[in-house]
């Protein structure tokens, strides 16, 4: 790879700072007592402790998956801190009571939370290490009957909803990391959109890992009642440590009749350094249940960070005519490894799904798309269209595509397209010969390559995503 391409793909990480704040941290390690302690610290009702213990007991019998196309040294689960929270007053009635250091941290990350500065069209739940720090626009949303709060708060304020939906899409024993999450998760966001309500603003959770040795295990649950709709955005960053941190989150979405959920992620966890030292292990389970007829769930993800990403946002299409969508850009650079994709499980009649996946691999990274399309026996007339494109930058990166197709009825249609392209010397020379710099050439090519996915992101996020990719791939040509 030429010097130009090299400098272009080596951009520093802007969010690598650590916030100095006193934390309430429990000792390392995991056992039933630790789980009881977490539940106790959170003052949880009994059903939550039962949920956790059940998950923990299943987890003990499970093994870490080995099928993803990624390599990492064995994780010592007894060496992780499972709960760490910034020390502050037990209950925050207003933003004034939130530690200013935390507010500053989020402001530095581009997520101002104070009344004066907060984003005017997005409500934000800010999560710092294991706990929710603040949620904006809560009262305003409440007037419409919309619930948007931290998971802990929801457990206390809306236990009936939590009881009904928690684990209903991703069961406690779904997979190794989901089980671990269910056992130890400390916070997250909860969203409930009542019948026939269109959420008036985008909702968003911003996750920040701060502590070096703690894992982050959060859980998001979104329920959209009949005829409702919501757009949800998720962002994340972490400091630079030369050790690895485990992030094992679970997201569950439920869409009832005619409801629609759009879930977008811009993932920018610390990716480790050029030689692969440090960075987040991002082992995440995200699944949406289109339970109602004509319901729709759409996942859009822009994955740029993490040392390792293992993530398959999926849709289970139960309701007749329901629609699942997955739009993804996954960028890996240096030594990053990503094994990501989706599962579209068609159960109801005339269900439809679309998969658009764009993988960009630079440096010595490894980027795999893994996707399952399953057409169940009763999914008459179901259709899927998948398109998986890979782009290689330089000569040392890897791209793989692993599509799995299972069709159990012959009225279902599955279409799969794949392509691989490359930005190498010849491409850059073609642009250069027309007077276009390598920097512009890469950014034009990447924007063009990702266009179909960026078009699906809400405006602010599309700009952010484009900027982020540019940041990762461009720079001054040295």
């Amino acid at each position: 790879m030429s010097a130009t391409v090299k400098t272009l793909v080596n951009q520093p990480y802007k969010y690598g700072f650590v916030t100095n704040i006193e934390a309430d941290t429990i000792p390392r390690g995991l056992n039933e007592d630790v789980i009881r302690l977490i539940s106790h610290k959170k003052n949880e009702p009994a059903f939550m402790l039962e949920f956790r213990l059940k998950a923990y007991r299943q987890w003990l019998k499970m093994a870490e998956p080995t099928w993803p196309n990624v390599n990492y040294p064995a994780i010592n689960y007894q060496d992780i801190i499972y709960y760490s929270a910034p020390k502050q007053k037990a209950k925050k009635n207003s933003l004034e009571e939130v530690d200013p250091t935390l507010l500053e941290t989020f402001e530095k990350l581009g997520i101002p939370l104070s009344e004066q500065k907060r984003l005017s069209n997005v409500a934000v739940d800010a999560i710092f290490d294991s706990v929710s720090v603040a949620t904006t626009f809560k009262e305003k949303l409440a007037k419409e009957g919309i619930i948007f709060c931290s998971f802990s708060e929801a457990v206390h304020e809306h236990p009936e909803l939590i009881k009904k939906y928690l684990g209903s899409v991703v069961p406690v024993g779904d997979n190794f990391f989901a089980a671990l999450n269910a056992a130890v998760f400390s916070d997250g966001s909860f969203v409930y959109i009542p019948k026939n309500t269109k959420c008036p603003m985008d909702l968003s959770t911003y996750f920040r890992i701060n502590t070096g040795d703690s894992g982050q295990f959060e859980r998001t649950l979104i329920v959209a009642e009949e005829g409702s709709s919501v757009t949800y955005l998720e962002g994340c960053t972490a400091p630079m440590f030369d050790t690895n941190q485990l992030h094992a989150a679970v997201v569950e979405l439920v869409a009832l009749d005619n409801a629609e959920i759009k879930y977008s992620t811009v993932q920018n966890w610390y990716a480790g350094d050029e030689n692969g030292k440090g960075g987040i292990y991002n082992f995440v389970t995200k699944r949406g249940l289109c339970q109602g007829v004509n319901s729709k769930i759409s996942w859009t993800q822009v994955e740029t960070g993490s040392a390792i990403t293992w993530k398959y946002p999926s849709c289970v299409l139960v309701g007749d005519n329901s629609v699942g969508e997955f739009y993804s850009v996954a960028l890996t650079n240096h030594m990053q490894q990503a094994d990501t994709g989706t599962k579209m499980v068609h159960i109801g009649k005339n269900t439809r799904s679309t998969i658009i996946s764009k993988g960009i691999s630079a440096g010595r990274s490894k980027n795999s798309y893994r996707g399952l399309v399953k057409m169940g026996a009763k999914a008459k007339g179901a259709r899927n269209y998948s398109q998986c494109d890979s782009m290689l930058i330089g000569d040392r990166a890897q791209a793989n595509t692993f599509p799995y197709i299972q069709v159990q009825n012959n009225s279902a249609k599955v279409e799969h397209e794949a392509s691989t392209s490359k930005i190498g010397e010849d491409q850059l020379f073609f642009f250069a010969q027309r007077g276009i710099s390598a920097e512009d050439a890469i950014s034009m090519t990447i924007s063009g390559f990702c266009k179909d996915v960026f078009n699906k992101l809400p405006m602010e996020f599309a700009v952010e995503a484009d900027r982020l990719l540019s940041l990762k791939l461009e720079g001054t040509v040295g």
Binding site: S2, S419, S421, E425, D426, Q427, F429, F430, F431, A432, Q433, R434, G435, I436, S437, A438, D440, M444, T445, S447, G448, F449, C450, K451
Partner: protein
């Protein structure tokens, strides 16, 4: 056209270049003046494309000796994008496809980079749109090609037209056309050649690379050079092409040995 005392646009002296450690160009000499059309002919593998890429500054090729003087300036130390901006244009033998990048955007960015270099104001999307539509006429291209991705799914002929469209926009001082006739049917050949002729004038120069005489019926050269193993072995007037067509390259080889 040959013009008395016109400006020397390109002067290549003893040019030697290698790729992956293999020497391809072995001491090439050429002088091109404003207004002139030079044809470079020669069998496959004789180094014609290599020469064009070395002129344009492809990073895979290393110049090991000699000089390339373009309008008084040695090009060798100048990066390819700067060469392009100062007026060196290469119409590729195999134009690349760039999925997702609209042809119109690509053309505009290219055009504006040349403008900027010339100290001229960049054109906004509206003005550029008008300009590019005028230029489409020159190569008889349909405006529908503007909204498609650069060269993606274009036929061979459409790609070549698109190359000449870029030439029409960039108005280079020196245009190098590498096998622009290959893969063209007669209609496409005529419109591409017609476009090139419209763009040729007394202040610019053309270097037409081809191994068939056919193109030279449409773009009539002032000089013909025959390349063989990385060198120009014979140069002569346009009639040389006809002779080559009739008697083949072996004949030149023999002639070159006895010294013409």
């Amino acid at each position: 056209m040959i013009i008395e005392n016109s400006e020397v646009i390109l002067s290549v002296r003893n040019l030697q270049a290698e790729v992956e450690g293999v020497q391809i160009l072995k001491g090439l000499n050429l002088e091109v003046k404003a207004g002139e059309v030079h044809a470079i002919m020669g069998p496959n593998g004789s180094g014609k494309s290599t020469f064009s890429k070395v002129l344009a500054g492809h990073p895979d090729y290393t110049v090991t000796a000699g000089e390339i003087i373009f309008q008084g300036q040695d090009l060798i130390a100048i990066p390819p994008e700067e060469r392009a901006r100062s007026g060196v244009f290469l119409a590729f033998q195999y134009p690349l496809e760039i999925p997702g990048v609209s042809n119109l955007d690509f053309l505009r960015v290219a055009y504006n980079s040349r403008r900027k270099h010339q100290g001229l104001e960049e054109l906004d999307a509206f003005d550029f749109d008008e300009l590019v539509r005028e230029k489409l006429e020159i190569v008889k291209m349909d405006a529908a090609f503007l909204s498609r991705s650069v060269n993606e799914g274009f036929s061979g002929g459409e790609k070549k037209r698109n190359e000449i469209l870029q030439m029409a926009l960039l108005e280079p001082k020196l245009a190098i056309l590498d096998e622009t006739d290959s893969g063209l049917d007669i209609d496409a050949l005529q419109s591409v050649a017609g476009g090139v002729n419209q763009l040729s004038n007394e202040s610019n120069a053309l270097l037409v690379i081809t191994h068939y005489q056919r193109l030279l019926n449409y773009i009539v050269p002032d000089y013909i050079h025959v390349m063989e193993s990385g060198e120009i072995i014979v140069s002569g007037p346009k009639e040389l092409a006809l002779e080559l067509e009739e008697r083949g390259y072996d004949w030149v080889r023999e002639e070159a040995q006895v010294g013409v």
